[in-house]
Subunit: 199 residues, 2 copies
């Protein structure tokens, strides 16, 4: 390759990140090389700092820079309702709605045997501990993704939690708002039909 | 936003990079936070090092870590033929073909009045200097992109270089190999027709 060794190294490091292919990595690398040096330094420092400062919330295992995240430490939230999500971004998506007043439990993944991710690799054990602890839990809302892995994980968790006498619910699956029926897959359409409610 | 301040800062810095939107930046940020710290450190160091070590080749202005790039310093290349490209990636693309034996001139952009990029903002003056210098130049091949900006730049350069008595050529424009006529725009089809050659 004609690029300088430094550029090649940067391209291959960037291409190792998720969702960044060889071409995007090249574009990013050349962009960085043309950026003011102090901006490159700032980006590099931000990466290192975020990596070292951010850790799991001791309550819900979301990523936070405090011992306890803002949701878990908020006394006006309903701590007896736990929404189980796959990752921090899903939690952020529900927080954006402003409609959920309970707390969360972040699994950091979903059971995916094909990828070698078993129940022990995500924060399921910690969820069971929360549900069988001293603080009363009235409901566990399973908000894992509507994918095979998400459904498997939801099923697995419900089998573990139900025997503890906790109500377990699953978020509704159906046609997204604004969705055009013509472009929606059959499984979603079937789910929407099964889950129909009286108007 | 619910994310930690460190995550937010990292997301916004990443989202400022070209081709990375808010969602990709979030995914990248969370990936980095879950990476082993030494890998984050290595990526950060690589960025800073590449930025500080890589500079313009004194011959063709490509990005290199030596004073003169491997192409310019290769005595078996034809130094009298100069291919003008918009950036180092375009040069790399032609180098990959292995069919070009001349040297290059990297403009680092194209004339784009709408974006405020004038002829003085890219390495055109340097090209004129090369063409009017002591080393004989027999041909300048304009290999800027086939976009409005690329065409404008090619036109502009040809008007500057031709009076110096240098042969100026433009790479062919037409249907790409493997291209399906059905999906190719009319301008390309017209160009392909205009540029037809006898078989």
């Amino acid at each position: 390759m004609i690029y300088s060794g430094y550029v090649n190294r940067l391209v291959s490091e960037l291409a190792a990140l998720p969702g960044i292919g060889e071409k995007s990595a090249q574009r990013l690398a050349f962009h960085m090389i043309n950026m003011p040096p102090e901006k490159v330094k700032r980006l590099a420092d931000t990466m290192i700092e975020a990596r070292s400062r951010v850790k799991y919330c001791s309550g819900c295992y979301t990523l936070t820079d405090a011992e306890i995240c803002p949701v878990c430490s908020n006394p006006s939230r309903d701590h007896s309702v736990i929404m189980v999500v796959e990752d921090t971004r899903d939690m952020a998506a529900y927080e954006k709605t402003g409609k959920y007043t309970g707390v969360y439990h972040v699994l950091h993944g979903a059971i995916a045997p094909m990828l070698g991710v078993g129940p022990g690799d995500i924060k399921i054990k910690e969820l069971v501990t929360r549900c069988s602890g001293d603080d009363p839990v009235s409901e566990v809302i399973l908000a894992t993704n509507s994918s095979i892995e998400g459904e498997t994980t939801a099923m697995y968790i419900s089998k573990l939690i139900k025997p503890l006498g906790v109500k377990v619910t699953r978020i509704a699956s159906g046609v997204p708002v604004g969705g055009d029926l013509e472009y929606i897959d059959e499984i979603t359409l079937t789910r929407a039909l099964d889950g129909r409610t009286e108007v």
